[in-house]
């Protein structure tokens, strides 16, 4: 600003005072690579430590549920009364002083009963291999979760979509029905419907959960559709004469995908939990078939003498629900457009 400064600048190489090249096209170059919505979302999902942990945990549980029963030398229903109620014993890990075939008082049952086999998670009171039963049970629990979630998805998206898209009187009537269904506590409805069947199986249990389970999905979809259908790009498409089908499948549904996926990811663990809950009050999967819930429930009956019968299935079911919740949380944050910067 003062003279000293101005004088200092006089020493600058005069060549620098040549006009520089000006190229307006260069100015408009976008410096960062553009990302599609889904690429961006998956990048953000993987940046979320909780979600990444959940994904890894979920993959591990899925692998065990798929392959452990196949590679096991026992079937989930194989009984061997001579080998009943053995504590867990796993090769290699036994050297660490855990899962070494000793019960909580330090008594080695494998030596006493002269068993030279390994039962990784021990055996139950009929001598069935818990390892095989737990991973078979995980399959059943996952299956129930998947069926319940997909039927929820189907009904919920259609109901919510129709209600939200057409609106008006139809919407009012449809929403009254939803209000009635929401008036009964969820698990009570499930219990009442299970009672209809003498021998509830995988399918009946899953469908009992759908009876009112789809309502939350329909509300999410309806809310989104109501919000989206008056946005300018939808109105523009409508003005151009697009038929309803095109509006729904090209403009509305793709934008509702995020919330639908997140909702489904939350439905699966809650169905798994609901089945376990039913097992605990004696309405779940019947033996010899087992689910994680029925294993926890059976294990609870002998928790004082054989804690391992409850601890392992409890650990697996909690980890399974945890992993789904973590991934669902991560997805919700990753798909939230507000978070997109």
């Amino acid at each position: 600003m003062d003279k000293a400064q101005n004088e200092k600048q006089l020493k600058i190489n005069p060549e620098l005072f040549q006009p520089a090249e000006y190229d307006p096209s260069k100015v408009e170059v976008i410096t960062r690579p553009s990302l599609t919505f889904w690429k961006d979302a998956s990048r953000r999902l993987l940046q979320n430590r909780g979600a990444t942990f959940g994904l890894i945990l979920l993959t591990i549980i899925l692998c065990f549920a798929l392959f452990a029963p196949i590679f096991s030398s026992y079937k989930y229903s194989d009984q061997n009364l001579r080998h009943a109620k053995l504590p867990p014993k796993m090769p290699y890990i036994e050297k660490l002083g855990v899962m070494d075939g000793k019960d909580k008082d330090g008594f080695d049952w494998y030596a006493t009963k002269k068993v030279d086999k390994y039962y990784y998670f021990g055996t139950d009171d009929l001598g069935r291999d818990q390892w095989t039963r737990i991973w078979t049970g995980a399959r059943i629990s996952l299956l129930i979760g998947l069926i319940a979630a997909s039927v929820d998805l189907l009904i919920g998206v259609m109901y919510g979509g129709i209600s939200g898209y057409y609106g008006g009187r139809l919407d009012t009537i449809m929403q009254r029905l939803v209000e009635v269904l929401m008036g009964v506590p969820y698990l009570i409805v499930v219990i009442l419907f299970i009672l209809l069947f003498e021998e509830p199986g995988v399918l009946t249990i899953s469908l009992a959960m759908v009876v009112t389970g789809w309502v939350s999905m329909s509300r999410v979809v309806r809310g989104q559709i109501l919000k989206l259908k008056n946005q300018e790009y939808v109105l523009a498409s409508r003005t151009l004469g697009s038929p309803d089908g095109r509006l729904i499948f090209k403009h509305l549904l793709p934008n509702v995908m995020g919330p639908i996926i997140v909702m489904t990811m939350f439905t699966i663990p809650s169905a798994i939990f609901a089945e376990a809950f039913l097992s605990f009050i004696g309405l779940g999967i019947k033996p010899p078939l087992a689910s994680l819930g029925s294993l926890v429930s059976d294990g609870y009956k002998s928790i004082r003498t054989y804690p391992h019968l409850m601890m392992y299935p409890a650990l697996v079911i909690s980890s399974l629900i945890l992993s789904f919740n973590l991934v669902a949380d991560g997805l919700r944050d990753a798909l939230d457009p507000k978070m997109r910067k």
Partner: protein, 349 residues
């Protein structure tokens, strides 16, 4: 006139996942008592961050004042503790934000929100505070203030809410008012009313105002002096006349040329090509060089200093260097220079 606020060589950075964002890079300005300074610039130019630094409202721990002094009546605000700053905020310096729809607490009556600061800073009784609050609401032009004090923000329109925010800022008779785009979120007619109100208040109370805006029309209306910011630096500063009728920096030229006026009817509106630089890695020369059709090679290589144009007018571009070639500014700017000469002639008569 006495200096009220003096900002010296201020650097503010934000630490994000992508890296350090150099939001403010060496800003100097000063403000005298009762004066109005407008800080103009586009979004991300650092104008809001500068004033938030003055208020000590840079979000921690992501943001940090890296260097510089903020002298308010001689005391350095940049070095004050949070507890000391609390006695300056609201009492000595008050602030008005851009969006009146979100800047009021939705679950507190506006009366309580206005009285809150008074009770904290001036230790007045509730009755006295209420009386003053009603006076303030009357001053900012809210009808039936006795009834309105008990109401909640959602019962007011946008313009009325901004009046409430202004009343709130005046609660403790501050010496400096920082208005961060106070009219941007309002309708044009309401904008004019709010600007009138602020001028009126300044006349009555003698408060100094820093006016942040990207709207040059607003600047011409309210300010005594203008500072133009670009990419975290002040690139030109002067009186309103200096900057409007004799602009020196090509960025200021661009800003003025892109402002529509009555004469440019039918012409295509001018726009500055490109986008502001990424402040994670600021350019080493003049930050505007890449978008500047008049750029010299020096603009890409070296940071231009502030060249003195007149006693009140400074600009930071190598074009002002004695060795720089003569260039012809765009028509819009030449037109403005002529206007000034004419205005001077008229005044002369």
């Amino acid at each position: 006139m006495v200096k009220l606020l003096e900002v010296k060589d201020l650097y503010v950075s934000f630490f994000t996942h992508a890296g350090e964002v150099h939001a403010v890079r060496g800003v100097d300005f000063e403000l005298k008592k009762g004066e109005t300074l407008a800080i103009v610039g586009e979004s991300g130019s650092g104008k809001s961050v500068t004033t938030k630094a003055v208020m000590g409202l840079i979000p921690k721990p992501s943001g940090l004042i890296k260097k510089g002094e903020i002298l308010f009546e001689g005391k350095d605000l940049a070095k004050m503790k949070e507890s000391e700053l609390q006695n300056v905020r609201g009492k000595e310096i008050a602030m008005i934000f851009q969006d009146p729809m979100t800047s009021l607490n939705p679950t507190m009556t506006i009366g309580k929100q206005i009285m809150e600061g008074m009770i904290k800073h001036q230790k007045v009784s509730k009755d006295a505070a209420l009386k003053k609050t009603i006076e303030l609401l009357d001053l900012v032009g809210i009808p039936q203030p006795e009834l309105r004090v008990k109401q909640y923000p959602h019962q007011f329109s946008g313009g009325m809410r901004q009046r409430v925010v202004i009343a709130m800022s005046l609660a403790c008779n501050p010496k400096l008012l920082i208005a961060d785009e106070p009219t941007t979120a309002l309708d044009v007619t309401i904008q004019a009313q709010i600007l009138e109100l602020m001028k009126d208040i300044q006349k009555k109370t003698g408060v100094a105002i820093i006016f942040i805006t990207h709207d040059l029309g607003v600047v011409a209306n309210v300010a005594d002096r203008v500072a133009v910011m670009y990419a975290g630096k002040i690139i030109e500063t002067g009186t309103v006349d200096d900057v409007f009728y004799n602009p020196q920096h090509p960025y200021t030229w661009g800003l003025l040329a892109s402002m529509p006026d009555m004469d440019s009817k039918g012409d295509e509106l001018f726009s500055i090509a490109g986008t502001p630089p990424d402040l994670i890695a600021p350019p080493k020369g003049d930050a505007f060089a890449a978008r500047n059709p008049f750029a010299l090679k020096a603009d890409f290589e070296l940071q231009p200093p502030m060249f003195k144009v007149s006693n009140t007018h400074y600009a930071s571009t190598w074009l002002l260097h004695p060795d720089a070639p003569e260039i012809t500014p765009p028509d819009a700017v030449l037109k403005r220079r002529n206007l000034r000469t004419k205005a001077g002639e008229n005044r002369g008569k």
